[in-house]
Point group: C2
Chain length 445, copies 2
């Protein structure tokens, strides 16, 4: 099997400067643009730009398109206006949509002026859809024929080089409306004079341009086809989504879930400039700081208690941690469930019951374990009792919020993967400290 990316990176780090362009060519040759884009992303920005300029200019556009947003922007920012113009001149409408947001308005307009009418129309039609709709990102590279065409017309079309991932021809009527999909594989067996419209695959339903990106990706995967057509509200063919596109969409959907938990997004550059990264991450630290101060404020309510029973201060991390961990387990399950559309109002009550059941069992067990340890450590069964109750209450509160917080956020169209953990931590910290120190104040003084 051929070399994996990390092996290339290691080899690259030992390659003399003068031989690096040759290694880049080799990677491009053997694995294609996606891999070279990943390799560039894995380089510090200085080196990335050095290598970028050694890539043949006719390959650059295709590689730029494959890169994650932030890494791509690091290159766009470093190019001179002339270099940028030359690069953007190579893009088609679909590419331009993809990266248009990172380009100065004037560059986009300039590129549009140099496009032919068809590409300009593609560009404008795509812009009718927003960044979360598949209509914005359709592939225009496909086979289509008028509905009146015959098998022999299709045969002629199929003798030319085919767009990648082609297993069907899309038919349209005189007013440009989508009529249906004909699978190419069955055309072999049919006489040339047969009308294609008699061979339409009734199972192959087109996607709406308004479909959400991941839903579109899932539909392509479930269809069993290599691509699905996408139509607008008037049923006109906008383009298609291939299984390859679906895989890219799926990846960015899941990368986003992963990164959002730490307040970042899927476009985050591994080697973003320090100041840019600092600024972005500072926001997340700031939001979490508010949470932490809320926890501090809760503790502050019990200063007098803490002064008298310092053991409570020592045990605080245990109460907070158990609630936080239990909550994050439920939250993670919910985030995945919401992402896969497996969680909904229809099964919410059952889910809540199940998670509260688990919390009941684990709350009880760990309350007991921790009670014994704390009682022995501080030679005080009362401290054991206090922490036992706090742990049990906190784990149950964590499960309840772990289910409800992401559900409510999702309902409000706020990303639960991004905001869920901050809110959940606030709940488990505040509830945990309040119950623990409050009980301590009541029972231990």
């Amino acid at each position: 099997m051929s070399e994996e990316l990390n092996e290339t990176i290691d080899r690259f780090s030992h390659t003399p400067e003068t031989d690096k362009p040759a290694v880049m060519d080799e990677v491009l040759e053997e694995f294609g643009e996606t891999r070279l884009a990943l390799l560039l992303e894995a380089m510090p920005i200085d080196e990335r730009m050095l290598r970028w300029h050694s890539i043949p200019s006719e390959e650059q556009a295709a590689i730029l398109i494959e890169m994650r947003g932030d890494a791509r922007n690091s290159i766009i920012r470093a190019l001179s206006p002339e270099q940028l113009e030359r690069l953007i001149g190579q893009l088609d409408a679909q590419d331009l949509i993809e990266i248009g947001d990172s380009l100065p308005q004037s560059v986009v307009e300039d590129a549009l002026e140099h496009m032919d009418a068809e590409q300009r129309e593609y560009f404008e039609r795509s812009l009718q859809y927003n960044e979360e709709q598949i209509g914005r990102y359709v592939d225009h590279n496909l086979l289509m024929l008028p509905a009146a065409a015959r098998v022999q017309d299709a045969d002629r079309l199929l003798r030319r080089p085919l767009p990648p991932y082609t297993d069907s021809i899309y038919l349209f009527d005189r007013s440009g409306r989508f009529q249906g999909t004909v699978s190419t594989s069955q055309l072999f067996t049919l006489p040339g004079h047969i009308h294609l419209s008699t061979q339409i695959d009734e199972d192959a339903e087109p996607l709406s341009g308004e479909a959400e990106l991941y839903a579109a990706a899932t539909a392509v995967q479930e269809s069993g086809a290599m691509a699905l057509p996408v139509v607008d509200e008037q049923n006109r063919l906008l383009g298609r989504v291939t299984l390859h596109d679906a895989m890219v969409l799926q990846q960015s959907h899941f990368e986003n879930l992963l990164m959002a938990r730490a307040g970042m997004n899927e476009e985050e550059d591994l080697f973003a400039p320090v100041l840019r990264s600092s600024r972005r991450r500072a926001t997340w630290l700031g939001i979490n700081l508010l949470t932490a101060f809320l926890a501090s404020w809760t503790i502050g309510l019990f200063e007098a208690t803490l002064q008298q029973v310092v053991a409570l201060a020592v045990l605080m991390p245990v109460v907070a941690s158990m609630g936080g961990i239990a909550g994050s387990q439920t939250l993670t399950l919910m985030i995945r469930g919401l992402a896969l559309k497996q969680v909904s109002r229809g099964n919410l009550v059952s889910l809540l019951k199940k998670e509260l059941g688990i919390a009941g069992v684990n709350g009880l067990i760990w309350a007991l374990v921790i009670a014994v340890i704390a009682s022995v450590w501080f030679s005080s069964p009362l401290i054991g009792l206090v922490i036992a109750i706090a742990i049990a209450v906190n784990i149950v509160a964590a499960a309840f919020s772990g289910v409800m917080v992401p559900m409510v956020l999702d309902h409000l169209k706020i990303d639960p993967a991004l905001s869920g953990s901050v809110i959940l931590t606030t709940v488990t910290d505040v509830v945990g400290f309040f119950v623990f120190l409050g009980l301590g104040a009541l029972l231990l003084i």
Copy 2:
């Protein structure tokens, strides 16, 4: 656009019991097995079993295969030996490999006895590979011909119903060795007597059966082909990996990253039985409890200090939280980088420098902000100084461990997504509390 899964779940919850089988049929009809599997996963176990028995038995095997491991096991456990035997009897070798681990040995052996020799051979060849190698999960449903075959032979093959996702024919020589791939789309244009071996696509390299699952998925995506052949060490054709399989492998790779952060895995059942879930999650809570007690122990070293300066106890969550959040940002970036093979020894030093740079900037800024707040809150500039130093040190320590811990774990073949956060939290809690309380003891008493 057709209904999404969560809409089906909602509708399902309002469907009278007697009409539910009809809704299930409709979902299967319109969206296929994957969607029905997702729907079953989204049901509490009792309901899942009720619905399972209303699925026509000839469809059950295909649906079972699509389900996540734990949900699938919930069904297998609930079936009688006769029901299980009937179900397993419908599986082919590839399916049996996929779910074999959840079946009693006797059931597997029984199923093998009823298979024909070819399927049995597939089964045994697959078992030469482990659960992380693509050779175990190859698709045997493909087109192949002897290398001596001609275009007319291929034409005959292509007139029959094709396996899904077919864009090429695989050639093998007399000793069964893989010779190469011929793209089906170019065969139209060629006269029937041409030898297929003259048309081999030299770019289409086969995968090794030993390739790691996600690497294989990436290779299929990068290849531009609909599927890649997989060969064994003697270059014999084992089967193929389609773009559809690649998408499934990619999804489970990323789901695993997501779930591992909370000590779960991608097979976790949304509606696992309470006791089973409790037991699994208890392990993770227990491991994290050790971490929490280590933090408590660190605090315990400074009991005397805390008694005198209770403000320190109040501010402890701020120190722990800032370190934890900063660390989790670096860790998340590293986990993605390692998963995409973008992080390696070759760029480790650059990464470490960059993350320490960010930590320096953010450490300084937040140390200042928090110092001001703490000084005012407790009317003590010294407390401000103490927490400022603790915050800055902890954020830098978090960045350092955020890079190094996952790197070392990966090197030791321990999943950094699973263990990374526990270790990182230990570091940030212990370092944070030690520096904060230690300085407090030195400067405030």
